[in-house]
């Protein structure tokens, strides 16, 4: 389901794209007895680095649960869930935490910026988590803000920024640590169409970026928002804890047709 524009550089088509995410038979249930909710009912999925994959489907079908499991925030009940070849199950709690800090960037629907911190301080958080001092982190944090077009708002508090700007700060925060997996849960749901496009442009750019070792970033975007489907390299549609059988390529084709 990899679309032509996914690999604009012909040289890289020679190399097989690295497998970022590999899921086999992943299940996850919440609650017990009569109240059990089967959020994931056996998910198989392979995602390559350098791709922008969208997870779509009705509310409550398990999209958030799936990205939580992929990013190591939630433990699967059964099945295998590998991120860059390492099964989350084989790691201790502290190791999982360290691996998230090293590999994963998050963008949330509700931004989740820390209100008392300025924009650049928010962006610096992942670097500080990795052990940098605030002073060391300031430079890269401001650069990351500049990259999302907020170079002049580094000192602003989240409350002084519009929703779109806050989400751009959140993207800068997600990208500042050069993650290999970027997980975005409904990143445009709280934004108007135009701001949503700006945010998606930034997320798309992140999926095209390669690090100094030539490795790409795997980007997963959970969304309801059909206005942004055309950004996807690949779309997976979920229903009731499973992937729908029919490939969702037509959605992309249709979306591209309309833009």
């Amino acid at each position: 389901m990899i679309l032509p524009h996914a690999n604009p550089d012909p040289a890289s088509t020679v190399r097989l794209p690295e497998t970022a995410v590999s899921l086999r038979g992943v299940t996850k249930a919440f609650g017990s007895g009569n109240l059990t909710v089967h959020a994931l009912r056996g998910i198989d999925l392979d995602l390559a680095a350098g791709q922008l994959v969208m997870l779509v489907g009705p509310s409550g079908c398990g999209k958030t649960t799936l990205v939580s499991v992929i990013s190591g925030v939630l433990d699967a009940d059964a099945g295998q869930c590998k991120l860059f070849g390492v099964d989350w199950k084989s790691l201790s709690g502290e190791q999982k935490t360290a691996r998230r800090a090293e590999l994963v960037g998050f963008v949330f629907q509700s931004f989740n910026l820390l209100a008392p911190l300025s924009a650049w301080q928010n962006v610096a958080v992942p670097l500080i988590i990795r052990g940098m001092s605030q002073a060391q982190a300031k430079g890269p944090a401001c650069d990351a803000l500049a990259a999302v077009g907020l170079g002049d708002r580094t000192e602003a508090r989240p409350s002084q920024l519009s929703g779109g700007m806050q989400q751009r700060v959140a993207i800068a925060r997600a990208l500042v640590g050069k993650p290999r997996l970027l997980v975005c849960d409904e990143p445009t749901a709280a934004l108007d169409a135009k701001t949503g496009q700006t945010v998606m442009d930034l997320i798309l750019a992140a999926s095209k970026r390669v690090d100094d070792q030539g490795r790409g970033c795997c980007v997963i975007v959970v969304t309801h928002d059909n206005r942004i489907f055309h950004y996807a390299d690949r779309i997976e549609e979920m229903e009731d804890g499973r992937f729908k059988e029919a490939p969702a390529d037509f959605i992309i084709a249709e979306a591209r047709h309309h833009t």
């Binding site: 958030t64 990205v67 939580s68 990013s71 925030v73 939630l74 709690g93 502290e94 935490t97 360290a98 691996r99 998230r100 800090a101 090293e102 994963v104 998050f106 949330f108 629907q109 509700s110 989740n112 820390l114 209100a115 008392p116 911190l117 301080q121 958080v125 992942p126 500080i128 988590i129 990795r130 605030q134 849960d185």
Partner: protein
């Protein structure tokens, strides 16, 4: 991370202020009540602190505390003087007398009578007049801070003590007793004319021991006699403090107040701090999802607790310190003592207060599912 923790704390001004004020209030309550309490305890032994010359205080075995004893007979003085090893033994009077002031008002005073020849038990400092003038019939030295209570009597003024004429011959400095009465010094002979007491007139006999015999031996010999008890300075001190602490009910009352301060501090700061953490649960979850290790989250909570704790502590003991300084000013009725042990005690109290909040908060933070960040 600690900068982030502090920024979170300062980001919520109302809670931050409430936390600091709550802790400051608790520390103030605890330390100030303890300071007053210790001040009162020390004050209760004031009459004892004025007299350091004697090795032993001999009195009736029924003694309750320094200001409450049964008098001995004057004949006991001879009995004590004939105990082997006694260098000297002199009577020491302390008791109450009603003073009729020039203005016509009446005031109860603490009348202290010392031996007219040796002047054993004399006030620590004579600030005006001469000690020897006490030998004048009816001569009294008025303790300086007591003068205000006695219509500011001056040298040469006369007043009546238990209807007997007394004349002020000078001023002195001495520590007052538990209920801070006006203190008036005179000779033992004068004292018993002011205070006709029947046969038994001697509250205390002050004893100096011959160095070659030793205090213990002499004390044992005196205690072997019927109807008298010899106490060292520290024993009398301990008896007095014990009496005030237990028999007056003051101990339990102060204890309750201190406990209340602790409970208020624990409850208020614990509840506010926990609520603060609850409201920041999402921020902690975000940090957790982004890969912050548990020990760093613990550190963040503890730094926040320590921050408000130390500021609250500083304000609380600072206010108590000001209060204590105020109580040192001459003429105040406040009694307060602020030894370093109290600083440590209040610190422990503060730690107790914030540890409840931190403990609850840590439970919350460590159990937090990072998955909630997607909600």
């Amino acid at each position: 991370m600690w900068r982030i923790a502090i920024a979170m704390l300062l980001g919520d001004k109302p809670k931050y202020l409430a936390l600091v004020c709550g802790l400051a209030f608790a520390v103030l309550l605890i330390s100030q009540q303890c300071a007053i309490f210790m001040g009162l305890l020390i004050r209760s032994t004031g009459p004892l602190q004025n007299v350091r010359q004697a090795d032993l205080w001999v009195t009736d075995p029924a003694i309750k505390w320094i200001s409450e004893t049964r008098n001995l007979a004057e004949s006991d003085l001879q009995r004590i003087r004939s105990v082997p090893g006694v260098l000297w033994a002199e009577p020491f009077f302390t008791g109450r007398a009603a003073a009729d002031l020039p203005s016509g008002a009446t005031r109860i005073v603490n009348l202290i009578g010392i031996d007219r020849t040796t002047m054993v038990g004399q006030p620590p400092l004579v600030t005006a007049g001469r000690l020897e003038d006490l030998r004048i019939e009816g001569g009294v030295l008025v303790e300086e801070s007591s003068r205000a209570k006695l219509d500011n009597v001056s040298i040469g003024d006369t007043l009546k003590l238990n209807d007997k004429r007394a004349v002020v011959v000078g001023y002195c400095q001495a520590k007052p007793g538990f209920d801070s009465p006006a203190v008036v010094y005179t000779t033992f002979a004068n004292a018993i004319t002011f205070q006709p007491l029947g046969r038994n007139t001697v509250p205390y006999i002050l004893v100096k021991v011959k160095p070659e015999v030793g205090v213990e031996a002499v004390r044992a010999s005196i205690n072997a006699l019927p109807g008298v008890k010899a106490l060292t300075w520290s024993e009398l001190n301990a008896i007095t403090i014990r009496f005030i602490l237990i028999e007056t009910g003051i101990g339990i009352n102060f204890f309750i107040t201190v406990l209340l301060g602790l409970v208020v501090g624990l409850a208020v700061s614990g509840a506010i701090f926990y609520q603060f953490t609850m409201e920041n649960a999402r921020a902690y979850a975000v940090l957790k999802a982004m890969g912050t290790k548990n020990w760093k989250l613990i550190g963040m909570v503890l730094i926040q607790a320590a921050w408000v704790g130390l500021i609250g502590y500083g304000i609380g003991v600072g206010l108590t310190g000001l209060f204590t300084l105020q109580s040192r000013r001459p003429g105040t009725e406040l009694a307060a003592l602020f030894p370093w042990q109290l600083l440590v005690g209040a610190f422990v109290g503060m730690i107790a207060c914030i540890s409840v909040g931190s403990f609850l908060s840590l439970q919350k933070v460590l159990r937090l599912e990072p998955g909630v960040v997607f909600k």
